[in-house]
């Protein structure tokens, strides 16, 4: 991703009833693709409203969340909102939905031909438009947990000089505290896969993914052979940081069909493909650990040769370079 020039920050949005089931195998926070989808929808909305900007990447900082699930016990269930009946009075088929309330800051990389004097005005217009949109299926509602001056949208023109740019980013990221930004750790996934393969050549990427998604408690003997020998249970983590399994896009499971070839498609002019969700490992990072805006931004990074429709984020490039 090339260096970002302008940032649009929409701070502290309260989103009610966002979709907490992010994929067939993950829950707790909406999929990053939902936010990227919001970005594309927003860009199109702005275009038709005569606001010409281009949005190319998006970052999320989560300040607070409240998952609507059952508490207690080992397994969480979802609070269901409805018990519908069908025509015959029987229970209609439903798909369980999980919901979560969020307090988030959205950060876009933004470009426009408009003069700098218009930026602030545009930022407010965009903020108003976003307030009327769905974010990951949830609605934007007034955020009463922070004073209104902390909710003002901001347009930041990043300086060309590295030093100045760093200072600008330092000011920004402290406003994003407390909170966590989602970053991508493909590097941990493949690294851990290699580690597992050293013990078992059959170990798959899926094994590595599951291993990073759980806690592994191991027992070892302290003071072995001595009178004060005792077993000690510990959680072993291969990497530091708050790692979570996340969906990052889709992979093809069929040919690419020409427009109209598949019945009941949403339109007759776009090419169509059956896909499955693809997964990687994400890391929730406190913004104060980030060095540059690119660390938290996500963007579409398809590999059509490999039939991959996926998102990417560059945080690991800097994190591993250290």
């Amino acid at each position: 991703m090339s260096e970002v020039k302008n940032l649009l920050v929409l701070p502290r949005l309260r989103v009610q009833n966002a979709n907490a089931i992010s994929s067939p195998m993950t829950w707790g926070f909406p999929a990053m693709s939902a936010f990227v989808g919001l970005m594309h929808a927003l860009e199109r909305k702005l275009f038709s409203a005569g606001i010409n900007v281009s949005l190319s990447s998006i970052g999320i900082i989560c300040h607070d969340f409240d998952a609507q699930t059952t508490e207690g016990g080992y397994i969480r269930g979802f609070h269901l909102t409805r018990n519908p009946v069908d025509k015959t009075g029987g229970t209609a088929a439903i798909v369980e939905e999980g919901r979560v309330h969020l307090d988030i800051t959205l950060v876009f990389s933004i470009e426009t031909a408009a003069a700098e004097s218009e930026h602030s005005n545009m930022a407010h217009q965009i903020n108003d438009i976003v307030a009327g949109m769905r974010i990951a299926g949830g609605s934007v509602v007034p955020n009463r947990s922070v004073p209104s001056h902390q909710q003002r949208p901001q347009w930041v023109v990043l300086d060309d000089k590295e030093e100045e740019r760093a200072k600008q980013f330092a000011r920004l990221k402290r406003r994003w505290l407390p909170g966590f930004a989602l970053t991508l750790r493909d590097d941990y996934l493949s690294g851990h896969h290699q580690t597992l393969q050293q013990q078992n050549p059959e170990a798959s990427l899926l094994d590595a993914w599951l291993d990073l998604s759980r806690l592994n408690h191991h027992c070892s003997m302290e003071n072995e052979g001595q009178p004060n020998e005792k077993p000690a249970w510990q959680v072993q983590r291969p990497y530091r940081g708050w790692l979570v399994p996340i969906p990052v896009g889709y992979g093809a499971i069929s040919d690419l069909f020409n427009p109209g070839e598949v019945a009941n498609a949403r339109d007759e002019k776009t090419r169509f493909r059956f896909v499955e969700s693809l997964y990687s490992i994400g890391e929730w990072v406190s913004p104060h650990r980030m060095k540059q805006p690119e660390d938290l931004l996500w963007y579409v990074d398809n590999d059509e040769e490999a039939d991959l429709y996926r998102l990417n984020n560059d945080y690991h490039l800097r994190a591993t370079a250290q």
Partner: protein
């Protein structure tokens, strides 16, 4: 060799038919007409022929539509791991060759699927049918044409029924493949319609792994040992905040065969961020200062490792060139971040926590870390307003850092002033103070304007 393969396959099938016949005929007398009908039905050619017809009611899939919505009608697909692109993300391509295929369709025809899952020499009849295996053909029939027709029918079990279709209840999303989402004129080229199906074979493997980690005898023994503090080699795997999503309600078989085997349960792994909740933040009680040595602040693991790194860096006695200053400034910035983070966590505690009798903080630190208390507590507010406590905080922080970096490396006045100056320049710290000042001003204004005040007659 070939003869024995052919015979082996044949006898595997015959064995299967015999077992099924025996189960069905168990309660019937040989003179019962129903018994005779069964005998007819289980004639090798008759049964195979019927199975080749009934197989049309089933589809073997790796990716199914029903879990997306039970009322959706449209294509489900068979896309085995080896047919998918290899890449570095987790998807169905990571499954091994012995993955579990799922079956959708008429549950009454499931015996045909059981038949196709029969294995001879590590290869299922289904695999053989898909490969158009000549040994299977010979085992099925002496007439090559007949055998070929059956094999084609069986192999078609992985084919989608009818034309490819999605459904209004299915999911379809527009995915950007071009450069510009807002380029309306070229949007047909700029987007693809993606229809996600449920990767049921992958989900099954994940389900089996998690269930093994939760319910297997080894897992139970290991957890018991852990609870009792005993030694056991087997590790305990736990999945924090694991959730379960039900599919198909009381009739999981309506979704698919594997869903039925999972009892309609679908595990979801947790992706949520760490919680900032006050639950995790404890007020600094029974200490006079958060900046004692190492103190509440200095004991935070991030602060500790930063201080350690900075100390090591300074101890190398680096020449004071540009690079040195850069690095030191980096460390400084990170320490400031940690300080800001710490203050904000304290501010998120319920206002007035510092009035707890177990709170022994010096008043300046209470002023800094519990600003909300000033709203209700008049004495606190007045005291807070009357002293330059922020200067004191800077002084304390600088002293703390001096001590933390000290020992081998005593700091001189120059460095001491440097740290104090940095904090005075730090934007977050200043912003907190400014916010405070503004808030105090408006509060004072409100107070003087209160009805019943001194000026009110």
């Amino acid at each position: 060799m070939a003869i024995t393969q052919q015979l082996g396959i044949r006898s595997t099938i015959e064995q299967f038919l015999k077992e099924r016949f025996d189960t069905k005929a168990e309660k019937l007398q040989p003179d019962d007409p129903k018994y005779q009908a069964l005998v007819e039905q289980f004639q090798f050619d008759t049964w195979i022929n019927d199975a080749a017809r009934r197989v049309g009611q089933l589809q073997v899939v790796t990716h199914s539509l029903k879990p997306i919505h039970p009322d959706a009608k449209g294509s489900s697909l068979y896309a085995p791991p080896e047919s998918l692109n290899k890449h570095n993300l987790v998807g169905s391509h990571t499954l091994s060759a012995n993955f579990a295929g799922d079956v959708v369709g008429n549950a009454a025809a499931l015996d045909v699927y059981k038949f196709l899952k029969l294995t001879f020499e590590d290869k299922s009849l289904l695999e053989r049918a898909l490969e158009n295996d000549s040994e299977l053909a010979k085992a099925l029939s002496g007439k090559p044409e007949q055998a070929q027709a059956w094999i084609s029918a069986f192999a078609a079990i992985t084919e989608p029924r009818g034309e490819h279709a999605s459904h209004t209840r299915g999911k379809q999303l527009y995915w950007l493949v071009g450069d510009d989402a807002a380029d309306v004129e070229n949007e047909a080229e700029n987007f693809r319609l993606l229809a996600p199906l449920y990767a049921t074979s992958l989900a099954h493997r994940v389900f089996q792994t998690i269930n093994h980690d939760r319910f297997s005898e080894e897992a139970k023994d290991a957890r018991k040992a852990k609870r009792e503090g005993k030694y056991v080699e087997q590790p305990v795997h736990s999945y924090p905040n694991l959730a379960v999503q039900k599919m198909g309600g009381t009739k999981p078989q309506n979704i698919s065969q594997l869903n039925s085997e999972r009892g309609g349960n679908n595990y979801l792994l947790a992706s949520m961020p760490p919680s900032w909740n006050v639950r995790d933040t404890r007020p600094p009680l029974k200490v006079a200062s958060v900046f004692s040595d190492p103190g509440v602040f200095g004991s935070r693991s991030e602060v500790r490792s930063l201080v350690k790194d900075l100390k090591q860096f300074l101890e190398k006695n680096p020449t004071s060139d540009m690079h040195t200053r850069d690095l030191r400034d980096d460390y400084t910035a990170m320490l400031m971040d940690e300080l800001a983070l710490f203050a904000m966590q304290m501010h998120s505690l319920p206002a007035g926590w510092s009035s707890d009798e177990k709170c022994e903080l010096v008043s300046e630190e209470a002023f800094w870390l519990d600003p909300g208390r000033a709203v209700e507590d008049v004495a606190f507010r007045e005291a807070r307003n009357s002293v330059e406590w922020s200067e004191d905080i800077r002084h304390r922080f600088a002293n703390w850092l001096n001590a933390a970096l000290g020992g081998k490396l005593p700091l001189g006045d120059v460095e001491f002033r440097h740290w104090k100056k940095t904090l005075a320049k730090d934007m977050t710290h200043q912003r907190l103070l400014d916010r405070d000042r503004r808030w105090m001003e408006s509060l004072m204004e409100d107070l003087t304007n209160l009805p019943g005040g001194d000026d009110d007659e």
